[in-house]
Symmetry: C3
Subunit: 422 residues, 3 copies
C-alpha cells in the first residue's frame, strides 16, 4: 500500500456500501479482508463441506481444509459421524493426509500418539507419570448433518438457527435419500477469483444465455428473471406460460407429497438459505444434455423420473441440485484472496453400477462444462475489478436480486460483528 | 520487517539521498515503495506504451496493463485513437483480453453490456427504466501521440509539458514516419530486477565493452563517455577523432534538414527527455551486425541509408533508436518490486515484405542479444543490492552522468509529491 | 491479519512461553518473526556454513547465502581463508554466483571493478581523480574455523564465546582431521517447514523407531532416552547393558587419547553446543547399512575403525557425526518462514579414491534416506501447527530434553535482545 493511500477500515467499508451495487474492490482483493472473511464468515458460520457418503463405513476418514484449519470427519464403529481438528496434541503434526482414508485408530506418524475414532488419546509413549491423557484428546468441531448434507462450524459456539434450516429443508431433501447415495464423481476446481465473486456468479443466470450453452438446455430461459420492458409480445406470452408451468408443477408435486414451493431466507438469517423445486425443459427429468435421467436406478424410492430439479442454496458457501436420478452438490472454499476452490460432487444411488445404470460422461458433462465457463467468468471479473478505475456497478433489479441478497447477508454479518466488538 | 528495524519513510529516503551515488536498497526492493512508484511515477506521468501501428485499422484494440490498471487503446471508424479503462461498468469484468484484437463494438462477455468504439454504453439488458446509460460509458484515459509514439497518463490531470516535448521532438521524428510503419517483431522480456535498475542500466554504456559484443559493432566506444586520464596517447587521438566525426555529421545532417543535435531535459522537466542523432560505425547505416540496413525499403521518403541513429530517451520508461531503415523502441513496465517487463518492438516500413525487403533475424539479432545480456546484469545487480551490506556506491562522473540524471528526476518527482501533501 | 486479531508482540511471546512445551504457532509461522529470527539469531550468532575443504586451493571461492545476505569465502595465495560480503561496492551487483568457483581476482562482471583475494579494490575505470579506492574494499565478515569447521557471524561484533567452544571441541575433532578431507558428496534439501521445526526434529530420536529404519541399524535404540515405566524386565535389562556399554567405551576411548565424554552447553551459552562420542551397534564402526566403514582409507592417522560416532551439535544451526572413516555434517539455513535448506556433506580422506576406497551409495544411503524421512515429518508438522486449533503440546521428559534445550536457548536469545533494547 502506497504511503499516499490509507486503506479503508472494515467499519468504513460496511458503512459506505451502496445497496444494489457490486462491492468495493477492497472487499474482493485485500489480504486483510480475506483474513477477516476466513475469521468472521468461514470461522463462525455453518460451512457445507461434504455428504454422509464421504464416510460410508466405520473407520472412514474424510479431511477438509478451510484456510489454515484442517478438519477430519470420521465415522466410528457405532456409525456416528464426528468432526475433529486434524492436529496431533503433542507437537502439532497433521494427523491424516486425506482426502479419504480408512483407519482403525487415528495414529500420529511422528511419535505414534494414538487416538480412538471418538477422539480420545489412548496411547502416548515415554510421557511419564504426571501425564494426563484425558486432557489430550482431539479437539472437536461442530458437525450437523442435514438429511445427509454435512455442515461444520469452526467457532466455539455455532449458530443455533441451523436447526430452523434443517427443519425446513429435511422434508424437501429426504425424498432424494442422500445417506443411501454414493459419490460417482468429484472434481476440485480452482477458480482465479475471490470467493465472493464465485458466489455472486452462482446467484444469477443473467450471464447464462451468453455463456452456458449446455446448462440452458435443461434450464428454462425465463426461470431466472427478466425485464418485462425488453420482451416483445411473443416473448411475454412465453414468459407467462412459464409462470403457469411452475404453478402447475408446484401444485402437482406438492399434492403428491413432494415439497416444492420457494422458501427464501437468504438475507434474514445467520444461516441463510433458499430452496425451490423448478421444472426442467423438454423431458422434465434431469440436468443433462438430453434432459433425461443419467442414471437408470432412481434415488431412494422415487419412481417418477420427471421431478424437475430441487435447488438449495446456502450462505455463505454452497448450492445443490436434486433430481430424481442424481444430485449435484457444490462446496466453495476460499484458498487465497484471489483463488477459490469449487468442489463439485455427483451422487447417484449407492447400488447404481457405472457402465450399467449410468455413464459418467452423460452424468457430469453439463456441470463440468458449466463450471469451466463460470471459472473463466470469475477470472475475467477478478482481473478487471482490481483496476483503480473499477467502481461498484448497478445490479439488474430483474435478474440479479439474489446477488444483492448475498451481498446483504455478507455485509450484515460483518456489521453484526462490528456491533459486537464496538 | 523485524521489530528491530522500522523502515525509513519516503520523506527520509528523499532527504538523505546521496548525490552521485546509486539509490538506497529500500528504493529498489520495498513493496510499499513499489506501490508508491506505481502511484506517483507510473500513475501520474506520461508513460510510453506503444505506437500508432499497434492499432492500424478501425476497430483495432491494443491492451496494455500498468500494475493493476488495464487500458485499452482503440482506433474508431474516423481513424481517431482513444484510450479507455478496460473495465466493464457493470460488475467490473475485464473487457478485452488483448494484447491485440479486432472488434465491431466493445462487448462485455459476462452480461453483454455493449460499448461503442467511442466508449459510450449503447446496450445493457434487464436494467429497468431508471437506468441511465449515459453515466455508464467507459472511463477515458489521457492519450497523446508524439509523431506516432503513444504515451498515456493515468492521472486525472496529465502533465502539460508533454506539449513541449512533442514540439521539440516532432521535427526529429517525422522523417522516420512512424505512422506508416508496421511492427515487424515484438518481444516481451521479464527482467528480474526493479524497474529503476532496468532504467539505470539503459542510461550508461560503461558496461558495454565487457558485456555487449554485438551492440559495440555499430556503436562507437567513445560515444558514451570516458575518463581522459585512463587513455593513452593513441586512444586520446581516437577520442578526438570521434568528437570531430560527431560535429561533422551533425553539421551535414542538419544542413540537409535532419535535426540531429542534442536536446537534454532529463532532470529539469516533469516529462523528462533527451535526444541526439549519433554516427554509426563502419558503413554508418544501422544497428545491425554488419552496420548495414536490415530493410531494403527505407522509412518514409528517406533515400540515404547512412543517417546514423537518432536516439530518444524519456523519463520514466522508454528509449528508442531511429535509423534510416528501421526503428527499435523500448517500453519499460514494472511488474513487481523485483520484476520488470521490457517490451521491445522493431518497426519497418509498412509496405516492406519479410523475406524480400528484410530478414527478421538480421533485423533483430543485435538487440535480442543485448537485451538478454542486460537482463542478466539487472538480475545480478538486484540480487546483490538486497544485501544489508550494500550501500549506495559512486557513479562515474565520466560514464554514468545520465544514470545520475535519471535518479535526480526520480527523487525530484518524489520530492515534488511530498511538497504537495505537506 | 484480520482486524479481529492483533498479533502478539515478541515480548509477549517470550513472556508467555510454557516451559517443556512446543512453541506457539506464531513463532513457527509469522513472517515478521521470521525476519526477527534472521536478524537476531542468524544475523548475530555464529552460523555453521561449511568446511575448510570447501576452498582447498588458493583462489577457491565458496558462496553461502543467509537470507538476503550473500557471503563469499575465499582462500588467498597464503592459504588464509577469509569471508566477505558478496556485493560490489560500485552499484551493488552480486560478485560471485557460486556455490564454488576458481578465480584469480574477484572481478565484477558489470563494470569490471576488480578486488584482490584479500578484498582490496585494485581496479575501477573512469572513476576520476578524487576517487579513493582504499575506502571501497569488500566488506569483511567474521570467520572462525574450529578444527576445520567454518563458522561465520554477520554481526559487527561476534559472540566471543566461540573461543570456549573451540577450546573444548578441538581435542575431540582433531583426530578426524577435517582439513585433510574432501567433500565426497553434498546435497541441498529444501524442507517445507520453519527452521526451528527442522532443528527440533534433529534434537530427539523419539521419532526414530517409527520413521528411520536405516538409521536405527547403526544407532542403539536406548541411546536417546526412554521412560523406564514403559519397559518390561527384558527391556530394562537391555537398557542397563547399553548404559554399561557407553561407560566402558568412554573409558577405553579416553584412555587411548580420544576425548569422548559428554560436554553439554546447549542452553547456557550464547554459542551453545553439545558433544559426545557414542557406540555404534553391531561392528561398532560407522553410520552405514552394515555398520562397517564405508571408506577403506581412514581419516587422519586413525587405525582403529571401531571408534563409534562422535556427535557435535551447535545452536542455532548444525549437527555433525564423525566416524573413523567419514564425517557427515549438516548446516541448516532458513529460506522463508516455511522453507528451510538442509545442506548435508559427506567428507572422506582427501586421498581416498571413489570406486576404490569408497562407494558413494554405501557412504551416503543412510543419511539420504533419513533426511528424506525427516523432511516429510517436518512438512507434516508445519502443515499441522498452522491450525488455529494447535496449542503447544508437552515434550516427553525422557526423550525430548534436548528439544527443550533448543527452545530454551532460542527464547533466551530473544529475551536477551529484548533486555538490550528495553
Amino acid at each position: 500500500m502506497s504511503e499516499a493511500n490509507k486503506p479503508a477500515s472494515l467499519a468504513q467499508l460496511v458503512a459506505r456500501r451502496k445497496a444494489g451495487h457490486s462491492l468495493e474492490a477492497d472487499l474482493y482483493t485485500r489480504p486483510d479482508i480475506f483474513e477477516t472473511d476466513m475469521d468472521l464468515i468461514f470461522g463462525r458460520h455453518w460451512i457445507y463441506v461434504g455428504v454422509e457418503p464421504d464416510v460410508p463405513e466405520p473407520g472412514d476418514v474424510f479431511v477438509v481444509d478451510i484456510g489454515k484449519t484442517s478438519v477430519l470427519i470420521v465415522r466410528d464403529d457405532d456409525m456416528q459421524i464426528r468432526a475433529f481438528h486434524n492436529v496431533c496434541r503433542h507437537r502439532g503434526a497433521r494427523l491424516v493426509d486425506g482426502p479419504h482414508e480408512q483407519v482403525g485408530n487415528l495414529v500420529c506418524r511422528y511419535h505414534a500418539w494414538t487416538y480412538s475414532l471418538e477422539g480420545d488419546l489412548v496411547f502416548a509413549d515415554h510421557m511419564g507419570e504426571d501425564f494426563d491423557k484425558s486432557c489430550r484428546g482431539l479437539k472437536p468441531v461442530h458437525l450437523r448433518s442435514v438429511a445427509g448434507l454435512l455442515f461444520i462450524c469452526l467457532a466455539e459456539e455455532a449458530p443455533a438457527d441451523i436447526e430452523d434450516m434443517a427443519a425446513a429443508m429435511t422434508p424437501y431433501l429426504v425424498k432424494h435419500d442422500i445417506p443411501n447415495t454414493k459419490i460417482a464423481h468429484s472434481v476440485d476446481l480452482i477458480e482465479h477469483g475471490n470467493w465472493k465473486v464465485t458466489m455472486e456468479n452462482n446467484r444469477e443466470c443473467y450471464h447464462c444465455g451468453a455463456n452456458h450453452p449446455e446448462l440452458t438446455i435443461p434450464l428454462f430461459a425465463y426461470g431466472f428473471g427478466f425485464s418485462p420492458k425488453t420482451l416483445d409480445e411473443d416473448e411475454l406470452e412465453q414468459a407467462k406460460r412459464y409462470e403457469d408451468l411452475v404453478k402447475d408443477a408446484h401444485n402437482r408435486w406438492e399434492a403428491s407429497g413432494l415439497p416444492s414451493r420457494e422458501i427464501e431466507h437468504l438475507a434474514d438469517r445467520v444461516t441463510g438459505f433458499r430452496t425451490e423445486r423448478l421444472p426442467i425443459d423438454q423431458s422434465g427429468q434431469s440436468q443433462t444434455m438430453d434432459t433425461k435421467v443419467a442414471c437408470k436406478k432412481l434415488l431412494g424410492n422415487i419412481t417418477d423420473p420427471a421431478l424437475g430439479g430441487l435447488s438449495f442454496w446456502t450462505q455463505p458457501n454452497s448450492w445443490h441440485h436434486f433430481m430424481s436420478d442424481h444430485i449435484v452438490t457444490f462446496s466453495v472454499i476460499p484458498v487465497s484472496p484471489t483463488e477459490t476452490m469449487l468442489r463439485t460432487r455427483w451422487l447417484v444411488h449407492k447400488d447404481a453400477v457405472e457402465g450399467i445404470d449410468y455413464d459418467k460422461t452423460t452424468l457430469t458433462e453439463v456441470w463440468i462444462a458449466t463450471n469451466k465457463q463460470d471459472a473463466h467468468l470469475v477470472e475475467v471479473t477478478q482481473s478487471g475489478l482490481v483496476s483503480p478505475a473499477y467502481e461498484p456497478g448497478p445490479y439488474s433489479p430483474y435478474t440479479e436480486g439474489l446477488v444483492e441478497k448475498f451481498c446483504q447477508w455478507y455485509m450484515g454479518r460483518l456489521s453484526a460483528h462490528l456491533e459486537t466488538v464496538a
